[in-house]
Amino acid sequence: MTPGPGRRLIPAYLVTGGRSAPTGPALDRLAVLIRTESSLPPDTGSEQRRLCELLEPGALTVVECAAHLELPVSATVFLATDLVAAGHLHARPPIPSAGEIARSLVERLLVGLRSLH
């Protein structure tokens, strides 16, 4: 899906199925997807099947799946939310990177420790 000089044949919006927003809770691009044990119904689309295959060996983030599927993240989110809703995937929100420690808290801790003496 390289944007070459010609017109690309299959656009990414095809996976949205005509919806304007994913049905279900919004997924972050760093949300981690984990395959569950449920078996896919036979009428599963090839792109959903492919996503599940990707996750067979282990978990991946949405953005990594998007790269493997050569789809934009926004389109991959549609696929993932559908599979999560159907119970074929687990989605885990991204681990928030720990923020800086509040200075006042440390100071109060220090005061408390000193007062122990």
Binding site: R7, I10, V15, T36, G45, R49, G58, A75
Partner: protein, 480 residues
């Protein structure tokens, strides 16, 4: 004696006078007859002139306008001579010629005007097309940069506009506007699907024996345009709740067929006849014949058929609406190079199950062994459907045997997360996972690690690498 002579003379005189009067009377009679004849001839000539005038009036007021109308409305009646006996053959022939000459003049002028309109439209649509192509590239880049789903919608609107413009251009004898490489047939079908409002109702079933069957470069885009028009008809003329099944299959003669069915309102005989005429690939389609608003679909397909050598047939569908069959001859087909991967969106061939006859699976096997790439995608499908069915179907007793059989780490973890659902039957096993799942433990430790890390390099912004790396890290930890 004298008396005899006198009598004889008198008889002679009487006879001669009788003869003379007879002759005079005959002459008078002839003269009157001639006069009568002249008079009659004059009357006839007058009547002829009158008839001719009437015919000319008929020609000017009725026949020529009607003949001109009939050029665009085939069913409109064209009146003939008022009374064929009233004028002689020569005049009638000349009057007929006048009608014919008027027809020819109108036709020529119409062709000229139409050609001018087409060329104007062609220029405009080529310009719009190139602009839309540029915005498509921009949208494509934006999609990969930002996660807003509205960009996808925008891309779709752009694609719809592009289809309209391209169809208009094709109708105006332009070339499709871009060249493609050899393109997978299924991908071309999906490409056509993506250009149609209501594309989500179109269900593509891939019944190809060769998965990598492709269209030769020059036919790829034309076929996409033609199929998009057929699909647009199918979706536009059927209820929004119904599906539009599309079947892609190979024929016995190395060609391919694309069937488009709809459960729509169907077509009446006139419309069907018009469609068939257009689909037969006429050498010229006039813009003025498309109606108002213009119905371009079949005309566009017809233009492409005339130029690229595929064919299209339309009939009543078993689904209730219409079925259009696009037939692609063998010389427009090829097989894709193995180094080009198919799109993830392309549906996999459905052989073996359902309607697939046992015959297609026979030829398919050698194809799969010769082409390794053709075999690969089929393989994972079978395990995924078979594998998870096993743990789901079996009793809990099987769980004990399963882990040693396969490399276990992911499965074990996954089973624990899975087990809370059937928990009601086995309360004691549920206790363990509810305490803390490996993910939670991993997440907690990873968060702690990251916290200390980011705490140490104090002013540094929260780098993007740690969160991205952390999931795989914590998975790695889980396995021990």
């Amino acid at each position: 004696m004298l008396g005899w002579i006198v009598a004889l003379v008198a008889v002679a005189v009487a006879t001669s006078s009788a003869v003379r009067t007879y002759q005079a009377r005959r002459e008078a009679y002839g003269a009157s007859a001639r006069a009568e004849l002249n008079e009659r001839q004059a009357k006839a000539a007058e009547a002829r002139t009158l008839a001719l005038t009437e015919e000319i009036r008929q020609l000017a007021r009725r026949r020529i306008p009607a003949a001109a109308t009939a050029l665009s409305h085939r069913t409109a009646p064209v009146p003939g001579l008022r009374e064929a006996a009233g004028i002689d053959g020569e005049a009638a022939r000349l009057l007929g010629e006048a009608v014919q000459a008027a027809r020819t003049a109108v036709l020529e002028e119409r062709g000229r005007v139409d050609a001018a309109a087409r060329s104007a439209m062609r220029g405009t649509s080529a310009k719009i097309q190139s602009l839309l192509n540029q915005s498509q590239h921009l949208l494509h880049e934006l999609q990969h940069e930002y996660d807003d789903p509205r960009i996808l919608q925008l891309d779709f609107r752009n694609e719809l506009a592009l289809r309209r413009t391209q169809a208009t251009a094709v109708l105006c004898d332009a070339w499709p506007g871009l060249a493609r490489q050899n393109s997978s047939l299924v991908e071309v079908v999906l490409g056509a699907q993506s250009r149609v409002p209501g594309y989500e109702r179109i269900k593509v079933a891939n019944h190809l024996r060769q998965e990598r069957l492709a269209l030769v470069a020059r036919a790829a885009e034309p076929l996409a345009i033609a199929l998009a028009e057929l699909l647009a008809n199918a979706t536009a003329y059927s209820h929004p709740d119904t599906e539009v099944p599309v079947t892609v299959q190979q024929t016995a003669g190395r060609g391919a067929l694309i069937l488009v069915d709809d459960a729509g309102i169907g077509m009446d005989d006139d419309a069907l006849e018009r469609a068939r005429t257009l689909l037969s690939g006429p050498s010229e389609v006039l813009l003025t014949e498309l109606g108002d608003p213009p119905r371009t679909g079949f005309a566009v397909v017809g233009r492409l058929i005339a130029r690229y050598g595929f064919s299209c047939h339309i009939e009543s569908s078993p689904y209730g609406g219409m079925r259009t069959i696009l037939r692609i001859p063998a010389h427009l087909l090829t097989v894709m190079d193995d180094d080009r991967a198919l799109s993830v969106l392309a549906p996999k061939p459905v052989h073996a199950r359902g309607t697939g006859a046992p015959e297609p699976s026979g030829p398919q096997d050698p194809a799969a062994t010769t082409g390794p790439v053709g075999h690969l995608p089929a393989e994972p499908v079978a395990p995924t459907s078979a594998e998870p069915a096993e743990p789901a179907g079996r009793a809990p007793a099987a769980e004990a045997e399963a882990p040693p059989a396969e490399l276990p780490t992911r499965r074990r973890r996954a089973r624990r997360t899975d087990s809370p659902e059937p928990s009601t039957t086995r309360p004691q096993t549920v206790e363990e996972p509810t305490l803390r799942t490996p993910e939670q433990a991993g997440a907690a430790w990873a968060a702690l690690q990251e916290g200390t890390l980011s705490g140490r390099k104090a002013p540094g912004p929260p780098a993007q690498a740690p969160p991205a790396a952390s999931p795989s890290d914590d998975l790695g930890d889980d396995e021990t």
